[in-house]
Symmetry: C2
Subunit: 379 residues, 2 copies
């Protein structure tokens, strides 16, 4: 049974190992697992020692994983299951980053959410663990806006921006999904236990690591590829120059997802990496939830919101009327000749303009002289 | 004499009038002035009434202008003078914005600076009058950086960002130039009298308006085209949704100059217009003086600074060594088998990696077990 073979592979091979991805492009999971267990040969291909070593302990590790999964209420989903997000297979066609690539052989899930459905309209919001209050506030606001518009917010359940993104979704009573770098039965960081439990209550906690596996450094980097692949786009909020969230952005970029970044004060270290990514053309600037949704919907900046700026009453006046207004004062009445001389129009043009302005209630006639009807500032 | 004819035109026609620009593409200044004064005909072309009216008062306005210029120490420069910046003629080939276009017929200058030389390497730094302390600080810092690198900072001497940009140049004892919307003999805003005097002492104060002319609303908009045209690029720092500095950015864009914008907190109203311009693709993001200079030098984001981020000692290790480090602890010694099992490598790979890490002083051997040499954080 493929689900069991895939489970075996996931216990024997470090998730994200590009060598396994390469084998899976040619061989069935069952064949590869049999080869690892020494019961089959894949042509001339040599099975890595580490896989063979772990293969010899498979029966025991499978028992332990099953016990842990049962205790924590985890389910194992693989391609072919209804809950499997098809988008993950995009990972089979991208180059490794930091030594990881490939779709996961399966995922451990915890929580009430239906993963494939949650991913249908989803956006990753990630950023600095050591974020500023600015980053925290923006993460929570943007996530709330996206959640409110029906988009599932997916993040890494980490300190800082990630946690705030999940909380923004909670605020709207919307489901959210968290992808962990450790087993889906563990809480990392520990003090986010309640947050992770809440994610499971309203959405789903996800990991490709077997139950009980630790959040090793490299696993954060390989985990990031899942966050990028499960979503239609990634937004980075605050990232110092070396930040894991830029790694997620790179994954999103490689996967052809929409890459977005929220700018911040250039004087803040926490926005250095964000601005570098924007300058390098790796992310488009977004400042509000509705801009994120427009980018994800393929509408982009132009269709969504013309920055042609709202017109004032002043802008809608013909040029001569605008100039004439310039020559008028609120405090001192002026003759047509004085006005014409100040603004360099002909007296006939000024008279016509004053008629128009009077009809619009913008100027007052005082005998042969004219006044501004309202006080106005120059400039 | 063309200089005098141009002076006459500047006194009779509102600077930036597109009709004059159009005539100057065909006729000499002397012919146009003669036509305005009723002494000549330009084929079938009708001279606007306002021009003819003002033409009748030309002798007197010229006398007044000359007296004011003398008193304030202004000089009149026109095309053909050594101080004339050739770049201004680009304005003859762009469409009107807010009813203004065209190179000025001449400029009034005040101060020690040589305008053409100052403009050779120059950048406009403009922005909100009602800027925040963030905008003020950034304007002054970026201007100081540009000035220090030999670039003349040109701005509008207004409150807020403009004033801070000039002051940033002062800090580096560098020349700076200010383009006014009123006559070059006047101080606008009044309380910037000392700042404008200082600009004249180290650089040059510029206006296309005749001495004594007031800063009318439209004149700020036509003035902005000069700021854009005199420089190789414009940087906008803080601009609310309807801001004059976005008008300068539009001019720079029309003129094929480099258009740049400094991002800020998305929660700040003063950065709304800036972010809209960036999102509309009207400006590239800059965060530092050296990025501005790189953009102006045509190097752009990529050549100037790869956001490929500095490598740490950890990044330079081969993948197996990095994984092995992940399996080690600072507090508890582990055997090779334990490490291999944790990080899913073969024991042979782990042994080779430990040798390498030991040579680099990153791990310690304790009998048959291994420890991290230094404390490290996960993630």
């Amino acid at each position: 049974m493929t689900r069991q073979d895939r489970l075996g592979l996931s216990l024997v091979v470090e998730p994200g190992d590009p060598r396994l991805r390469n084998l899976l492009l040619t061989y069935e999971p069952a064949e590869i697992l049999a080869a690892i267990l020494g019961r089959h040969r894949l042509g001339e291909i040599r099975i890595p020692d580490a896989w063979a070593e772990r293969g010899r302990a498979l029966d025991r590790t499978a028992e332990i994983a099953a016990a842990r999964a049962k205790a924590a209420g985890l389910r194992w989903v693989t391609p072919g299951d209804k809950e499997w997000p098809m988008a993950l297979s995009d990972l089979d066609h991208v180059e490794p980053l930091h030594g990881a690539t490939g779709a996961p052989v399966g995922l451990w899930l915890r929580g009430v959410g239906h993963l494939a459905e949650l991913c249908e309209q989803s956006v990753a919001i990630v950023g600095a663990r050591e974020c500023t209050t600015y980053g925290a506030e923006c993460a929570s606001d943007l996530a709330a806006d996206c959640a409110d518009a029906g988009w599932t917010v997916i993040s890494g359940a980490a300190y800082g921006v990630d946690g705030c993104a999940h909380r923004g979704a909670f605020m709207m009573n919307a489901p959210t999904a968290g992808v962990l770098a450790c087993g889906a039965d563990l809480d990392y960081p520990k003090s986010h236990g309640a947050l992770i439990a809440r994610i499971a209550e309203v959405g789903v906690v996800i990991s490709e690591q077997a139950p009980g596996e630790k959040p090793l450094k490299n696993r954060f980097l390989s985990r990031n590829r899942l966050i990028a692949a499960l979503t239609q786009g990634t937004v980075v909020i605050e990232a110092a120059e070396r930040s894991g969230s830029l790694n997620t952005l790179n994954w999103a970029d490689q996967l052809g997802r929409t890459t977005m970044a929220l700018p911040g004060p250039v004087t803040s270290k926490q926005s250095l990496g964000v601005h570098a990514a924007i300058r390098a053309g790796k992310a488009v600037v977004v400042t509000r939830g509705r801009e994120i949704i427009a980018e994800l919907s393929g509408l982009g900046a132009v269709a969504e919101e013309q920055p042609s700026l709202p017109l004032t009453e002043f802008d809608r006046l013909p040029p001569a009327a605008r100039s004439t207004l310039d020559g008028l004062d609120w405090a001192a009445a002026r003759t047509v000749t004085e006005i014409a001389s100040t603004v360099r129009l002909g007296t006939r043009e000024v008279r016509a303009a004053l008629d128009l302005l009077e009809r619009r209630g913008l100027v007052l006639r005082a005998g042969a002289e004219w006044l501004l009807a309202r006080r106005a500032d120059v400039g």
